[in-house]
């Protein structure tokens, strides 16, 4: 029982990290960034390439090296996110919403199959595994690596929340989410803030990608597809556009999945997750913490 809860929370913290990028971008410009899951995949591969270039790492150094790789990868994926926004989304900001969704699908497709052409279709084995000793806590086996990863995830999420709620930058983001045109009139550089939002969201997804690679040990070019869907589900459960809600949604989805797998068997896990998504959309589309927004014409 407590093992199930722990596993759920652990997987859920990955979902939450990826979902935050989804939720921020949606909150600020009402765009579903389908390429977001593929940024996560890009992060895993960037980490893989860096670790391959660094070479042999002694097991004792694994964690510090991983943290260094994490920072570099976050910069790389963040810039990729900015680039995608600049090339594929910005020129269409005033176009019909359908066009924007279609370019988002195109961006996702290009990233997936570009990576396949570059790195091959076969799964790659991550050069670095966090070997950890397990500790028993309330009957659940918890490894130190899981604790380390969860701490990194929590630090990133808390940092993001502080940034959005306490800084000038965050205030600008919230202003644009409310009304882009008025924000521009008030002297906020809308394009620059949107770029930085993409940077933050993509950096978080990249961090999650490296962590998933180091934890699960195997990466492939389609790994972002499912997690993109799950991250969206988390964002919807918590309330899309709402940062604490999204974190809560990620953890909740992780828990639901963990229990769903236990009851129904592993092969139904993804079906169960999407079932939850459809249920939430029909019962409470604004999510647990989301506010009811009326659409403006």
């Amino acid at each position: 029982m407590s093992q199930l809860i722990w596993n759920g929370l652990f997987v859920g913290s990955f979902y939450a990290l990826v979902a935050l990028g989804y939720s921020m971008v949606y909150g600020i410009m009402k765009l579903l960034n389908f390429a977001h899951g593929d940024i996560y995949m890009l992060g895993a591969f960037t980490g893989f390439a860096i670790l391959g270039a660094v070479g042999g790492i002694s097991p004792g150094m694994a964690l510090p090296v991983l943290l260094g790789v994490l920072v570099v990868t976050m910069a790389v994926t963040g810039l990729s996110g900015v680039l995608i926004e600049r090339v594929a989304y910005r020129p269409l900001r005033n176009a019909p919403r359908l066009s924007l969704l279609i370019t988002a699908v195109g961006a996702s497709f290009a990233l997936e199959y570009g990576m396949r052409a570059g790195a091959g279709a076969d799964p790659q084995v991550y050069p670095l595994r966090l070997g950890g000793t397990a500790v028993e806590v309330l009957g659940a086996r918890i490894t130190l690596q899981q604790i380390a990863l969860i701490i990194v995830a929590i630090v990133l999420m808390v940092g993001l929340n502080l940034l959005v709620t306490r800084t000038r930058e965050g205030r600008a983001m919230r202003a644009i989410a409310l009304d882009p045109r008025t924000s521009a009139l008030m002297g906020i550089s809308v394009n620059a803030v949107i770029s930085r939002t993409f940077f933050l969201g993509s950096a978080l997804a990249g961090a999650a990608g490296v962590m998933a690679g180091a934890y699960y040990g195997k990466i492939d070019f389609m790994m972002g597809f499912l997690i993109g869907l799950k991250a969206f589900t988390s964002a919807v459960i918590g309330g899309i556009g709402n940062i604490p809600g999204t974190m809560l949604g990620g953890l909740l989805l992780g828990l639901l999945e963990s229990f769903g797998t236990y009851w129904l068997g592993g092969e139904w896990r993804d079906v169960f997750a999407f079932g939850v998504l459809i249920l939430f959309l029909s019962v409470r589309p604004t999510g647990l913490l989301g506010e009811r927004v009326t659409e403006r014409v």
């Binding site: 009402k30 765009l31 579903l32 389908f34 090339v87 594929a88 020129p91 269409l92 176009a95 019909p96 919403r97 359908l98 066009s99 969704l101 279609i102 370019t103 699908v105 195109g106 961006a107 996702s108 497709f109 290009a110 990233l111 997936e112 199959y113 570009g114 396949r116 052409a117 597809f225 499912l226 869907l229 969206f232 589900t233 919807v236 092969e267 139904w268 993804d270 079906v271 999407f274 079932g275 998504l277 459809i278 959309l281 029909s282 589309p285 659409e295 014409v297």
Partner: protein, 321 residues
């Protein structure tokens, strides 16, 4: 859609002549004639199977065109209905020994139900939600087919009876059915319901204000698309006589969407040409298999940036008269 009105006025005399040619009703008949004569030029089993697949792909694209092109709802899991149709007809024909045509009523019923199950909760929400829910639905159907015993698990169903023993006859039957489906979709697009769809696509709030029951209209588009996809699935099952979950991946959905977007959303001839191009391109570009899908992704972005109305755009009759 400002881009559409802007480009209509421009263009050289040659371009206008070409577009008048494309707009004439003879384009469709000429296409049909090419499809009918193709087996006389080349009738190797390989060529026939490629052409039959292309025809089925045209049907899929014209079905998705109802949803995306006419009504402006992005469906990213369209292949799910294709799979539902193929599996329903496959299971009924192999388990109960029904001939393929007898499974069609059941296929229609099942795809309509599937359309309502997915459409009813999500069409009340913003259109972007529909996109991602359909993406998830596509995965659910594939995983479910993979896990259930009745669908044969990962190895799928085999031994599905075809419509006839000869691939040439099957090709012609497919061409006839697909032509009827394309014409049907196009007539539907010009009907009263079709005008309501376009109104919803252009401005949903205005449509609602003018008394269009937008939710019901959108659901109708979604269900029509589902039925088209399901019937294409029956043809697919009949052609290959074996189906497995591997045929119904997100890649397929994305390719159908690609065909619709490339050809021109809402434009029947454009979508037909787009579907033929997308389904024949892999045969031509076999050497570039690795970069093909990457190029498709980039092409989707480029089309949206440069020519969002597609290569062969829809011209509405109301505006041009």
């Amino acid at each position: 859609m400002t881009t559409r009105t802007k480009t209509r006025g421009q263009g050289t005399a040659l371009g206008r002549a070409a577009s008048r040619l494309f707009d004439s009703k003879w384009a469709g008949l000429a296409g049909l004639a090419v499809a009918a004569l193709a087996p006389f030029l080349i009738a190797t089993p390989y060529a026939l199977s490629v052409m039959t697949s292309a025809a089925i792909f045209v049907m899929l694209a014209s079905g998705l065109n109802i949803v995306v092109g006419f009504c402006g709802l992005l469906d990213l899991g369209y292949v799910a209905f294709f799979a539902v149709g193929a599996y329903t007809s496959g299971v009924l024909s192999t388990r109960f020994g029904l001939p393929l045509l007898m499974t069609v009523p059941a296929v229609i019923v099942v795809t309509v139900i599937a359309g309502i199950v997915i459409g009813a909760p999500t069409l009340r929400l913003r259109s972007d939600y529909l996109a991602i829910v359909t993406l998830g639905f596509g995965e659910i159907i594939r995983i479910t087919a993979n896990n259930l015993d009745v669908t044969g698990g990962p190895s799928g169903i085999y031994g599905i009876p075809g419509l006839s023993g000869s691939p040439v006859v099957f090709y012609y039957i497919t061409v006839v059915i697909v032509s009827l489906a394309v014409i049907g979709a196009s007539r539907l697009g010009r009907s009263r319901l079709g005008r309501a769809w376009r109104f919803v696509r252009e401005d949903e709030d205005a449509a609602e204000a003018m008394g269009v029951h937008t939710y019901r209209v959108k659901l109708a588009a979604y269900i029509a698309g589902a039925v088209w996809g399901g019937l294409a699935g029956v043809l697919f099952a009949g052609q290959l006589s074996a189906i497995s979950p591997g045929s119904f991946t997100f890649l397929q959905s994305a390719l159908v969407l690609m065909a619709v977007v490339l050809g021109g959303m809402g434009s029947t001839p454009g979508v037909v040409v787009g579907a033929i191009v997308i389904s024949l391109l892999p045969e031509v570009l076999r050497d570039f298999a690795d970069y093909r899908f990457f190029a498709f992704g980039v092409l989707l972005i480029v089309v949206m940036l440069v020519r969002p109305q597609g290569l062969w755009p829809h011209r509405s009759r109301e505006a041009s008269s």
